[in-house]
C-alpha cells in the first residue's frame, strides 16, 4: 500500500521529511487548504524537492467554497506551476466540477463527509467521470463495507490510518480574539473533562475529537480490503521520536512497533468505526411509532377527558352510538369501548356525529393524546 502525508506547513515538513520524502505529499496552500499555511513559493519548492525524490504532489483544495472563492482560486492556480502537481484533492462538489472542467489534472475526491452508501460513492464518480483518480472514504465506514464496495469502485481508494478526526468545520471565527497567541494548541471542554483540540484560521474554526484515529494495528485488514493508499496526518502532533517510530513501523509492521508509535502520540487513540458503526442504536429508542394497528383505521384523537364523566374526541371519521372504538394510548395500551352516548359542543345528543368535536361517555386508560381507531370494515353509515 502506498502512503500519503499531509503537509500544511514548513515546520511540519522539516519534522517529517525523513518519513515522507519520495511519497505522496498532500500540499496545503494557505488559500485552499483548511489548515494550510504554505505560500506559493514554499509549496513549489517543496513539490520540486519531493518530485526529485520520486514523490507525487497533490494540491489540497478542501475548503468549501463560494463562487467568489472559486474565482480567487482560479487566479491562484494560474499563478502556480502546475507541472509539479500530480493531482488536486477536493471535497466541495462544485470545486470538483470546476476543476474537472477547467484543469487537466486528476481529481482526488474527499468523500469523508456522508457518502456512506455505494450509490452515493458511484454517483460522484459518474458525474465527474474520467477525471477521478481516487476517492477518500469516510472513517465512519467499517472496513467490512469498504471490502464489499471495492469491486464496484473502479478508481483508487484511500483511508486515513493515523490522523486527527475533524468533527466540526465552521467558516465563522469562533475563538475570535480572546486568546493572545491563537497559534498555540487550544482546546474546548469542561474542566476535568474531555478536551477537544480547536483551531481557528482564515478559513474558520475546526474542532477535532480528543482521540487520534489509529489504525496501524489493522493494516492487514486494510490491505485485504484492497485500499490503495494509507494517509498519515501528523498536522496536530509531530515529533522526531514519533517520526522515528513510524519509520521503524513501516519496516516491521508488528504489534510492538505499532505500540511504540502509539506511545509517542500525545493523546489517546481510537479505531473509530473501523469494526462497526451502530450510531443509530442509541437514538432508535427515541423513535415514536405512530403507525395504525392492523385492521383498524384512524377515527380521531382524544383531546380532553374527565374521569367517570366524559371523553372528548376530535373526529376524523363519523361515529355512532353502539359502535365499538379502539383507543391506543401513548404507551401502547389498548382499550375497546362501546359508545353509550354522544354530544356535540352545544350539548345536543346525537346517535351519529360526523365531524368536529364529539363528547362521549368516559373511556378508561385513554388520556389526552390517545389515538382513536375503528375497524377498517366498520361502516358508520349503512
Amino acid at each position: 500500500m502506498r502512503r500519503s502525508y499531509n503537509v500544511h506547513s514548513i515546520d511540519l515538513w522539516h519534522s517529517i521529511k525523513n518519513l515522507a520524502l519520495g511519497h505522496e505529499l498532500l500540499l496545503e496552500h494557505r488559500e485552499l487548504g483548511r489548515l494550510g499555511c504554505l505560500d506559493s513559493k514554499q509549496l513549489s519548492e517543496l513539490a520540486i524537492e519531493n518530485r526529485a525524490h520520486g514523490g507525487r504532489n497533490v494540491l489540497v483544495w478542501d475548503i468549501l467554497a463560494s463562487d467568489a472563492q472559486i474565482q480567487r482560486a482560479d487566479t491562484l492556480l494560474h499563478e502556480l506551476d502546475l507541472s509539479i502537481i500530480d493531482a488536486i484533492r477536493v471535497q466541495d462538489p462544485g470545486v470538483a466540477m470546476y476543476v474537472s472542467q477547467s484543469w487537466p489534472l486528476p481529481l482526488q475526491l474527499v468523500l469523508e463527509t456522508g457518502n456512506h452508501n455505494i450509490g452515493a460513492i458511484l454517483s460522484w464518480i459518474d458525474v465527474l467521470g474520467d477525471a477521478v483518480e481516487r476517492i477518500i472514504l469516510s472513517n465512519e465506514l467499517p472496513i467490512s463495507w469498504t471490502l464489499q464496495y471495492r469491486d464496484q469502485i473502479a478508481v483508487e481508494v484511500e483511508l486515513a490510518v493515523l490522523s486527527p478526526i475533524l468533527i466540526f468545520y465552521s467558516p465563522r471565527p469562533l475563538i475570535g480574539t480572546r486568546v493572545p497567541e491563537p497559534d498555540q494548541p487550544l482546546f474546548w471542554g469542561e474542566p476535568g473533562q474531555r478536551r477537544l483540540p480547536v483551531k481557528q484560521n482564515q478559513h474558520g474554526t475546526f474542532l477535532f475529537y480528543e482521540k487520534a484515529l489509529f489504525l496501524l494495528p489493522h493494516w492487514q485488514d486494510i490491505r485485504a480490503a484492497r485500499v490503495d493508499v494509507n494517509r498519515y496526518d501528523l498536522r496536530l502532533w509531530h515529533s522526531d521520536a514519533l517520526v522515528d517510530t513510524l519509520i521503524a513501523w513501516h519496516q516491521e509492521k508488528d504489534t510492538e512497533s505499532s505500540r511504540r508509535v502509539r506511545d509517542q502520540l500525545t493523546k489517546r487513540t481510537t479505531q473509530g468505526f473501523f469494526k462497526s458503526n451502530r450510531t443509530d442504536k442509541q437514538f432508535a429508542k427515541l423513535k415514536r411509532h405512530d403507525s395504525v394497528p392492523e385492521g383498524l383505521r384512524p377515527a380521531g384523537l382524544v383531546v380532553d377527558t374527565r374521569k367517570k364523566s366524559y371523553t372528548l374526541i376530535n373526529l376524523q371519521e363519523a361515529i355512532r352510538v353502539g359502535q365499538t372504538l379502539v383507543f391506543v394510548n401513548s404507551i401502547g395500551e389498548t382499550t375497546h369501548h362501546q359508545i353509550r352516548w354522544i354530544e356535540d359542543l352545544d350539548r345536543q345528543r346525537h346517535s351519529v356525529l360526523g365531524s368536529g368535536l364529539a363528547i362521549i361517555d368516559h373511556v378508561s386508560r385513554a388520556p389526552t393524546g390517545t389515538n382513536v381507531y375503528m375497524p377498517v370494515d366498520d361502516e358508520t353509515f349503512e
Binding site: A65, S123, P171, R288, V303
Partner: protein, 394 residues
C-alpha cells in the same frame, strides 16, 4: 434559466398534523415534513404513512405543496426500504423530496419521477455545486446558510435551478453535514437523525497548560432572522423562503409564517408595508442575519444562553359552536381573567376574554388545565387551527 416564480414561496416546517394545519391556516404556500424514516429529526413526532397521505390530501385541498425530507446520509442497510417508500410518496402525490445524499437522489430518480430538492445538509455554496446536483436530477437547491443573497442570485442565474434559502430559525454553526460531534461524543449519528446538539453546550477554552480563557457557548449560533431583508430576497429572485423548526411549537409556526407571509406580500406589492410582527416574542438565542449580507463573524455567536420566550403557546382553536364560543385545546394552564391573544392570520393579535372559562360539559371553571379543552368567547374571525398565546406572568 430557473423557472420563474413571480411570488416566492413561504415554506413552513411541520412536525405533526396540527402544525401542518396551523401552517396552512397562517398562509404557508408549501410545507416540509418527514415520514417515519430517512429524515434528520428522529425525536420529532414525524408522520406515519397514513398521516403522510392525509397531509397531502389536506394540503393539496388548500393549494399547499408538500415536500418530504429524505435528507439523512444513509447507510446501505438503510436503503433497502427506500425504493418502496419513494414509490409510496409518488403514489400519494408528494410535490418533492428533499435529499442530501447522492445515493438517495439516485434511488429517487430510479424509482419515481418525484421532484428532487437538495437539502442544505449538502452545503451547496456555489454555482458549480448546483450544476453537480443538476446532473443528479435536482430541480432545486437549498443553499447553505453561509451563502450571501448576492451569491444566491448568481447561483440561481448560473445553474438553472430553483433556489431555496432559509429566512428564519436555528442554525448549525458548522457547515451543515460537516459536523459529527454527536457521532463521536454521544454515539448518535448527527447526519442520520441523532444530533445531540453538542454545539449548544457551554465550553471552556483552554491552552495546553490548562489556563482557561473563558467560558461560553462558543459553537452556538444566534438564530437567523431575515425579515428585514425580505425585499432583497424578492429582488434576488429567490424562489422559496424557508423557515427552520420542525420540532418547534405550533405558536412558532403560526408566528413565523404570519410574519414572513406578510413581509413577502408587502415586498411583492400585495400589501402595504407591515410594521409589526411577533418574532421577538418567540424563544430565540438572539437574532442574526448570518451571512446574508456579509460573512457572519463573532457577533453571530450566542455566547451567553438566552432562550426565553415572552409569550407561551396557550392553545389552539379546535372548533366553534353556535353560542359564539370557541373550543380551545390548552397547552398551558389558563386562569380566569388571564390575558390571552389570538394570532389572526391577518396579522393582528386579538384579545380573548377569559372572564368565563367553561368546560365542555358547560360548567364554569376557574382554571383550564393543559391537555384539556375549554370554551371561551369567540372573537370575530376565529376559526379552527388559529393559535392563542399568553404572556409570561413575570
Amino acid at each position: 434559466m430557473a423557472s420563474s416564480t413571480l411570488i416566492p414561496e413561504i415554506l413552513a416546517p411541520v412536525g405533526n398534523m396540527l402544525k401542518l394545519k396551523v401552517a396552512v391556516m397562517y398562509g404557508a404556500d408549501a410545507v416540509y415534513l418527514a415520514g417515519p424514516r430517512f429524515g434528520l429529526r428522529y425525536a420529532a413526532d414525524n408522520f406515519s404513512e397514513e398521516q403522510l397521505r392525509e397531509a397531502c390530501v389536506f394540503a393539496h385541498q388548500h393549494g399547499v405543496k408538500v415536500f418530504v425530507t429524505l435528507n439523512a446520509f444513509l447507510f446501505d442497510e438503510d436503503m433497502h426500504d427506500l425504493p418502496a417508500f419513494v414509490a409510496f410518496l409518488q403514489e400519494i402525490d408528494v410535490d418533492a423530496v428533499i435529499v442530501s445524499d447522492a445515493g438517495v437522489a439516485r434511488v429517487v430518480r430510479e424509482h419515481s419521477s418525484l421532484n428532487i430538492h437538495v437539502s442544505t445538509q449538502s452545503s451547496t455554496l456555489n454555482t458549480w455545486s448546483a450544476r453537480f446536483w443538476a446532473q443528479l436530477g435536482a430541480k432545486r437547491v437549498v443553499l447553505g446558510r453561509e451563502t450571501s443573497l448576492a451569491a444566491a442570485k448568481a447561483v440561481r442565474e448560473g445553474s438553472g435551478l430553483e433556489v431555496e434559502m432559509f429566512v428564519h430559525g436555528s442554525m448549525c454553526m458548522a457547515f451543515s453535514g460537516n459536523c459529527t460531534i454527536s457521532n463521536y461524543t454521544a454515539g448518535r449519528d448527527s447526519n442520520r437523525g441523532g444530533c445531540s446538539h453538542s454545539c449548544r453546550y457551554e465550553y471552556g477554552l483552554f491552552d495546553q497548560s490548562g489556563h482557561n480563557y473563558g467560558e461560553g457557548h462558543f459553537m452556538s449560533s444566534k438564530d437567523l432572522n431575515a425579515l428585514r431583508l425580505i425585499p432583497q430576497f424578492v429582488q434576488a429572485g429567490i424562489d422559496s423562503f424557508k423557515i427552520e423548526g420542525r420540532m418547534k411549537s405550533a405558536l412558532y409556526v403560526a408566528t413565523t409564517v404570519q410574519a414572513y407571509r406578510h413581509a413577502r406580500d408587502a415586498a411583492c406589492g400585495r400589501l402595504s408595508p407591515v410594521t409589526h410582527n411577533n418574532l421577538d416574542d418567540l424563544p430565540n438565542r438572539g437574532y442574526t442575519e448570518a451571512s446574508l449580507i456579509q460573512a457572519a463573524g463573532t457577533e453571530s455567536i450566542a455566547l451567553q444562553k438566552k432562550d426565553q420566550a415572552v409569550f407561551d403557546m396557550a392553545g389552539y382553536v379546535l372548533d366553534t359552536n353556535d353560542q359564539s364560543q370557541m373550543a380551545v385545546f390548552l397547552n398551558h394552564p389558563v386562569e380566569k381573567g388571564q390575558r390571552l391573544e389570538l394570532l389572526s392570520p391577518a396579522g393582528e393579535n386579538v384579545p380573548v376574554q377569559t372572564g368565563k372559562i367553561i368546560d365542555v360539559r358547560g360548567r364554569l371553571v376557574d382554571r383550564g388545565n393543559p391537555n384539556s379543552v375549554v370554551l371561551l368567547p369567540r372573537p370575530e374571525g376565529a376559526s379552527a387551527f388559529m393559535v392563542l398565546r399568553l404572556q409570561h406572568a413575570s
